[in-house]
């Protein structure tokens, strides 16, 4: 329960942080909210030589709508997003996710970007932001590159981030008119990771047909999963009980949960079905006239 010895640095700029990462020669780790890293260090599952604390870098606090995106900087915490009136109004998927990540204490420290870099398939932001079709903005010695979150999240605890790169920002497309979203999660208690969870981002046409839909599954495979089959089935359809039931069944079929103390495979798979259905219903209800 005591971490191995380590050095600590608190740079003031992204450039400095990247330089420190390079200098540490794979022994460095970025410290954001510390809500995943510090527990790992206490269990000695992680033993970095150098902790690079990015909490004092002002440029990473960016949190605003700009050019069709909501820009969420690396130091934006779950709690900050949860309290944002703008998110509450225009990003119901994000708002309903922020409310169920961890517990209020963890939410005040943990960051959205830290959660994405941690790349735990049971993390909520991966599933929610895949549904939202978010972009990852990565900065390294050679500058900035942007990629769909689907490409950023590679495998369990593995991302496309290079050793000397930082996830500086995640960008969420601002939903057009007739859009709604929702995140549904089952957890054993507050502060628990999901037994199963599903995020949905939805846009309907004037005629009520599904124009765009994103469905992200949490704890349903080695990495946050896009329910491609379910998405494909819904495009162009009217969102009614029949199409929702069929999409929910398809999402459950695509899920590959593993058995653990949170549940057996059959239970978790069925929860993907139940939660997909509920998230679709709720996303439709969240569309404002």
């Amino acid at each position: 329960m005591i971490p191995a010895a380590f050095e600590y640095a608190a740079p003031k700029t992204v450039a400095e942080a990247i330089a420190l990462l390079r200098g540490a020669d794979s022994g460095g780790k970025i410290l954001a909210g510390g809500q995943s890293l510090v527990p790992m260090m206490r269990f000695r599952l992680a033993a970095p030589n150098l902790l690079i604390d990015i909490t004092r870098i002002p440029e990473l606090r960016i949190f605003k709508e700009e050019s069709g995106y909501l820009r969420i900087g690396a130091m934006v915490t779950h709690g900050e997003l949860e309290r944002s009136a703008m998110v509450g109004e225009r990003y119901p998927l994000l708002a309903s996710t922020a409310r169920v990540v961890a517990d209020p204490i963890v939410r005040e420290r943990g960051t959205i970007c830290g959660s994405l870099v941690h790349a735990d398939p049971a993390g909520d932001w991966g599933a929610a932001l895949i549904a939202a079709r978010a972009q990852a903005v990565v900065t390294g010695p050679a500058g900035e590159r942007t990629m769909p979150l689907d490409d950023f999240l590679v495998d369990t605890f593995t991302t496309a981030l290079g050793e000397d790169e930082i996830l500086t920002e995640v960008r969420v497309p601002t939903p057009p008119a007739l859009s709604g979203g929702n995140y549904q999660k089952i957890e054993r208690k507050v502060g628990d990771f999901a037994t199963a969870a599903v995020g949905v981002q939805l846009t309907l046409s004037e005629q009520g047909a599904v124009e765009a839909v994103g469905i992200g599954l949490c704890a349903a495979g080695p990495v946050s999963l896009r329910a491609t089959a379910a998405e494909g089935m819904l495009i162009g359809k009217v969102l009614d009980d029949a199409s929702i039931t069929a999409a929910a069944a398809a999402a459950a079929t695509q899920a590959e949960p593993t058995a653990d103390t949170r549940g057996a495979i059959d239970y978790k798979r069925d929860m993907v079905r139940v939660l997909t259905s509920r998230a679709l219903h709720a996303a439709r209800a969240a569309i404002r006239a």
Partner: protein, 784 residues
Amino acid sequence: MAIEAPSAPVLGQALKRKEDPRFIQGQGRYLDDIRLTGMLYMSLVRSPYAHARLVKIDKQPALAVPGVLAVITGEDLAGLGLHWMPTLAGDKQMVLATGKVLFQYQEVAAVVAESRAAAYDGAAAVEVEYDALPVLVDAKHALDPGAPLLRDDREQKTNQIWHWESGDSMATAAAMAKAEVTVKQDVYFPRCHASPLETCGCIADMNKATGRLTLYVTSQAPHVYRTVLAMVAKLPEQMIRVVSPDVGGGFGVKVGVYPGYVVAVVASIVTGHPVKWVETRTEHLGSTAFARDYHMNVEIGATKQGRVQALRVHTLADHGAFDSQANPSKWPAGLFNICTGSYDFAAAFVDVDAVYTNKPPGGVSYRCSFRVTEASYLIERAMDVLAAELKMDPADLRRKNFIPPERFPYTTPLGWTYDSGNYPANFEKALGLIGYDDLRREQTERRARGELMGIGISSFTEIVGAGPSAQFDILGLKMFDSAEIRVHPTGKALARFGVRHQGQGHETTFAQIVGSELGLPAADVLVEEGDTDTAPYGLGTYGSRSTPVAGGAAALCARRIREKAKKIAAHLLECGEHDVEWADGKFRVAGAPERAVTMQDCAFAAYTNPPPGLEPGLEATYYYDPPNFTFPFGTYVAVVDIDPGTGEVKVRRFLAVDDCGVVINPMIVDGQIHGGLTEGFAIAFMQEIPYDSEGNCLASNFTEYLVPTAVETPHWETDRTTTPSPHHPIGAKGVGESPNVGSPSAFVNAVVDALSPLGVRHVDMPLTRERIWRVLREHGVVSA
């Protein structure tokens, strides 16, 4: 000199807790807050195997870690005869393993170092070679012919620890055979753990200069520790001082003596320094006293009209690797034979078989008066199973079978004599408050729509306050408890007790008892517990015994003071002692009540102007041996709704109507009820320590062993009835454990009631969503 007038009566007032300001402000002084000069730290090496031969321990890599001073193994302790220690239950237990290990996380070696970090690094560096042995996890296979023999150190070459019986088996068999209706049900109370916020730990400080050992330790029973240490370590008892500082929750986990304490004492003797050892959460969940793990089978025989006649219970008790449960010595299954509950059975018979498995030892803890929780859960569950068989409302079945108020004191077929009770009054109050009949009507409507709503009742009887000395002792120590009161010249008092609170509020409630007996404000009575050098001898706080036993001692000790003060009052009032009366908190002259002196007047005179011939001073000690247990009771009602898609149970309402006799402080009683109900809720819905087939503990931290937060916890509604205990000096009964004892059955009864239209009669705890979902699936319910 200015002396305050005595205040209004202090018993029954909702005084704010005196201890809270320091706890709330983070100013409590817990074990880990204590840092002594030159203090070293100890960390334990624990077994990763559940059953394995110990082949070799290599200390060298640990000794090479900077800061590590010593590594202690079982073989080292064997040289001192300390590698095994006696348990409170009459078994023995390894201190550090020699020969083999018997459960995962068993203590194998200790590393002593200059810092906590070095001690951890050292413990990780010790190299231990194991040779895995076949593992016995399932108690139901412990007595199979092919089962591995776990305790080859014992003469009896079997995994059976003991067999225990209570009641008349022949009469019960006869009554059961004649009964018009019988029901039979397997009921498992899972292995769980109280897991208080503060884990266990100690600082052993052997002072070489004085030869005196001070043990600071998280203990609910410091005096017992002193005596056990004297016996185990063969130290003279006057040379041992046990100090239990503020304790961050105990719930029974901090009654037994753990190997780490013994090793820390040895480490302090060896190094000549104070040695601190504090468990991690994983060590705590993985090795200290678990709770329950009772596999029960219950049968009830009844008439067709629902009058119960016979109760038969067979239980298989999983005790883990050692029988180290903290039970009264002559009661291996504790007070489990309270399982006839609130009902009038003509015949009953209970037997318990205890077995060893490759799991950590324990059994009696988690806010439970020695297995009363298992007993209460069993009978309340069984009554609902019978009601289902008879197609009768469970409330009506209970009404038919309550022990009637006029039959108290009532002796059960299993030998307990209940002191007092008025079950129907308490029951009807609860059902009226919750609106039982309306709820049943609502349920009928919802069921017609296919909705799953359930109502569960528990009308339990507890047994607390161990215990009368004729039958109750721990290692021969009779289970009395004690109080010592000193009234200072200015009329303020210091009251010390042999018990040790861990959140129960003694600093307030005992001050209220003493204050009300002496006519002093509670604020003027300082309560102190936990230091064996200053407190009178006592057996400690657990089993809801503090108020029934130490609370009795408090009142009687205060009355002893009052007797002496009366002589002083007569002197001050210049009248004969027989002319002095104690009325409205003052000594008054009979027939002339306006001529009065206060306790403060008498206290001042005790030191400044004692009557000729009377010993000066105003102090007393009282050892109270209770004539009987007390029997609190209550009615709890849970209302639940089940989500058919996910299996989630929502507790819509929960009402607890308790009867704990005379209430000392209603706010503290409510607080105890709230806390215990939250634990009962956790046990019913989320807590279990499961083991895989290799004996690996699957809930060794708070990610897997779930403690509910304010978010999950239902809103608690509470109320009371008051039936005083006839034998307790102030009529109080003890309340700390009632909510944990009484609530699991209410939750489970409600869930089973919700599922009963599907034909479900029982579901074992914990009632996780997945478990409910599976029951729904098995009965063809699929929902979105």
